[in-house]
């Protein structure tokens, strides 16, 4: 068997057009789930019982169900549900099925990543000794000031390795967006491949694209970590 190099070149160009969609999905999901995950982590460490229980339930729900199933659910059930609400409850004539499917993708990936990040942030916040919070209060800082100036910056550094993992996992899982007819890298490759039955070539191409993207993400995280964790280094002479 020989690889169709000409086809691979063409596929590379056409799938590259999907990179912005893949990265866009990743970034939007991160932008939503970073603060959401952070506040859920705070909620879990706080002392409100109901909030704690709700968050735990949500996290175990996300963890206990395959993302593919969540996609099937959101993509087939949510539109009908929304349609019902819009038509029968709100009495509007707006067509729910015109919603760009990418919004469903935003929803699923944020929903998933927020759960992962809430755990990441929770364990990261726990790595900062409680004594520093007390010291901050004792010098006259407010609780919010202590969080913003002392606790969170350290927790973020502690969270970076897991944050990197979560981002890479998110980037990879956006390849499932094709199930919602979103035209990301994987979706375009599948379309091209189907046309001439060049599956192997098409998949090899996006294989390489994903590796490059994920490696770049990891390098960015390593660089950030080495900049931000300067205070941890001992001076070695």
């Amino acid at each position: 068997m020989t690889l169709n190099l000409q086809f691979m070149k063409e596929t590379l160009v056409s799938t590259a057009a999907g990179i912005p969609t893949t990265l866009g999905l990743t970034c939007v999901a991160l932008l939503i789930s970073l603060p959401a995950g952070f506040f859920m982590a705070l909620g879990k460490l706080g002392n409100r019982k109901t909030a704690k229980r709700l968050i735990s339930f949500y996290v175990s729900f996300v963890r206990g169900t395959p993302i593919v199933l969540q996609i099937l659910f959101v993509y087939s059930l949510l539109p009908s549900l929304l349609n019902h609400i819009v038509k029968n409850v709100l009495g509007m004539s707006w067509n729910v099925f015109n919603i760009n499917p990418i919004f469903y993708a935003f929803f699923v990936f944020s929903f998933n990543t927020a759960a992962v990040l809430s755990e990441t942030f929770r364990s990261a916040l726990l790595t900062v000794s409680h004594g520093q919070m007390e010291a901050a209060l004792s010098v006259g800082l407010s609780r919010t000031q202590a969080y913003v100036r002392i606790i969170i910056p350290q927790a973020l550094v502690a969270a970076l390795p897991n944050l990197c993992n979560a981002t890479v996992n998110l980037l990879k899982s956006t390849s499932l967006a094709y199930m919602m007819t979103v035209k990301d890298i994987t979706a375009i490759a599948k379309l091209n491949a189907a046309r001439g039955y060049n599956y192997i070539e098409a998949y090899l191409v996006i294989f390489i694209i994903y590796i490059l993207l994920c490696t770049t993400v990891q390098l960015l995280f390593y660089a950030t970590e080495s900049v931000l964790s300067g205070y941890k280094r001992r001076i070695t002479i």
């Binding site: 520093q132 010291a135 901050a136 006259g140 001992r234 001076i235």
Partner: protein, 251 residues
Amino acid sequence: MLQVKNVHKSFGSNEILKGVSLEVKKGDIVVILGPSGSGKTTLLRCIDFLERADQGSILFDGIETDMHSASKANIARLRKKMGFVFQNYNLFANRTAFGNVMEGLAIARKIPKAEAEARAREVLDQVGLSDRRDYYPSQLSGGQQQRVGIARAIAPRPDVILFDEPTSALDPELVGEVLNVMKSLARSGSTMVVVTHEMQFARDVATKVIFMDGGVVVEEGTPKEVFSHPKEARTVQFLRNIMPGEFDYSI
């Protein structure tokens, strides 16, 4: 200047403080002694509101505040009159020595930057760490970290500084440098409440010694009274244990 009255504190069903009262006058060096678990740390933490007392009141400059029901604003106001030096230093790991001192000045008290920086340099100088200003806590020895802890506590010129066993986490050879800083603070007229097991420090520096056991003040007086003529059997027992050989009194 500072008076704490009838402090009670329980953890669960375990009553740790059973009505402790304490008076501190300006310039006093009050040393609190007592066996492990007697509630010394808990008392200091209640005074600085790091722990919420179940009952008790704190009288600062004539204003009395109920310790159990104190509002956020009152707590913030009272905390700014006090400094706290922790057993484990609790330095901000993401701030340099200088940055640690600056938080209480520029951020908590909104002192103008130039003035705050001058004061931060001054106190770091006072604890002998001018040359370590830009070091992070991870780059300092235990003794140096605790001196930064002291600098951070004294920088805003609090009315009273609370010390919770400031030397007990230190290697023996580093204890001296911290005690020296505390002695010079005492000489310069600071008001201090010190929980410590350093008997020599208590004898030399204290203006008042308080012996606590089982959540109550058992005995208090001048160092001379408490060390040379203790009245209570529990005090004698404690002093015997902590200074064997040196202390052979019977009542």
